[in-house]
């Protein structure tokens, strides 16, 4: 029996499948867009660089100094 590339079901449901495909593409675009907006709104990115598993003496020193100043003022 010859293999039919296009089953008749594909034609019958083309509209539905196209619609669902577009909805999924839209969902991906929304999640991507949200990620971009949220990351851009994080503020000072250096706040997060301290947690990137790499020793950053300059940042650590700055953070320690800031904590010490904060503690002294209380």
């Amino acid at each position: 029996m010859a293999i039919r590339v296009e089953h008749e079901l594909h034609g019958r449901r083309r509209g539905r499948n196209t619609g669902v495909g577009l909805v999924l593409v839209g969902l991906v675009a929304i999640v991507f867009g949200l990620t971009v907006v949220k990351v851009l709104n994080l503020g000072d990115i250096q706040e997060f660089e301290r947690f990137d598993h790499v020793a950053r003496p300059a940042l650590e020193a700055a953070a320690t100094e800031a904590e010490a100043n904060g503690g002294a003022s209380e």
Partner: protein, 316 residues
């Protein structure tokens, strides 16, 4: 999100008889969605804190999809009565285009997606309010009250009143007097709007076993109710003008709109059915027509006030 608005009819695919994408979209009651989008957008824009445009867009989309999901759940539950009534007989389930189980699946899936996405995009309160709105419309209104009491439209109207409150919560993360008053405006407006329609449109709700005030308590009582709810509506609508989202433009328009609406409700209250039939329910039809512009213009005026504040013209 009342049933007073009919949904978009979508023709089945003549070639195949298979349900098409539009049939599933019709489950979401697109015309009801438009009111939800408008009022939610106003709630979001008039809030004191700015929202990033993309997050605002996603939030409004989630609110619209959530409202649509509750519409799909409503169609799943009410398929038996939709089949009986002429206005709803062409909906996808009674028309045989979509299986009831599919509508339930679409409703539940979109509910979950819209709530979770709104939570991720904005905050837990906005997502919680959207979840409660869906629950209220699908369970409290559709499953419980709609067939149990002629006050169904009053309590069910709350589901349609939540969108501006959700929009406000998206921006501020909270509720306030202003958002509660926007809720109350739609909540109090729904009964006179719907009952004015019920007075001049012969519905077949009775055949479907859905109690309507005009049939259970009579048209005289319905006229009393229209006037009573209009009297409750007026202070809410005008009161918004004195809050942080109001101003002279809103206040002037609101006083004029409420004077006209109250006059219409008074005229409807004064008449009996013999007078109404003599002029083919002209006053009742007029009251229904002005009720449509009443709500649109109130929320439009709030937008104008927000634009004036953004331009630096703050009066209060």
């Amino acid at each position: 999100m009342t049933d007073a608005t009919s949904m978009t009819d979508v023709a089945p695919d003549a070639r195949t008889g298979e349900a098409q994408f539009g049939d599933y979209f019709a489950l979401l009651k697109p015309r009801v969605m438009s009111l939800v989008v408008f009022t939610a957008l106003v709630g979001l824009i008039v809030a004191p804190l700015p929202v990033h445009p993309f997050i605002g867009f996603v939030a409004i989309l989630c609110i619209a999809v959530g409202a649509g999901a509750s519409g799909a759940l409503n169609m799943w539950w009410d398929a038996d009565i939709d089949k009986v009534m002429k206005r709803t007989a062409k909906r996808p389930i009674p028309a045989g285009k979509v299986e009831p189980g599919e509508a339930l699946g679409v409703g539940l899936a979109l509910s979950g997606f819209s709530i979770v996405l709104l939570w991720l995009a904005t905050n837990a309160l906005a997502a919680g309010l959207l979840a409660f709105t869906i629950f209220f419309y699908a369970v409290v209104y559709s499953m419980w009250l709609k067939r149990a009491t002629p006050q169904n439209i009053v309590i069910g109207g709350a589901a349609g009143a939540f969108p501006p409150m959700i929009g406000w919560a998206v921006a501020t993360g909270g509720v306030s007097l202003e958002s509660a008053l926007m809720f109350a405006l739609i909540f109090m407006w729904t009964p006179p709007h719907f009952w004015a329609l019920a007075l001049f449109v012969r519905t077949d709700y009775g055949d479907a076993g859905v109690p309507m005030l005009t049939e259970t308590h009579g048209r005289r009582v319905t006229r009393h109710h229209i006037l009573a709810y209009t009297l409750l509506l007026v202070p809410v609508a005008v009161g918004i003008g004195f809050t942080s989202i109001g101003g002279p433009v809103y206040l002037a328009l609101s006083v004029a709109l409420n004077a006209r609406f109250l006059w219409g409700a008074w005229q409807v209250w004064r008449r009996d059915d013999a007078q109404a039939e003599a002029d083919n329910y002209a006053t009742e039809k007029w009251l229904f027509r002005i009720s449509l512009s009443y709500l649109f213009l109130h929320f439009g005026a709030l937008l104008v006030e927000a634009a004036l504040r953004a331009a630096g013209w703050s009066f209060f």
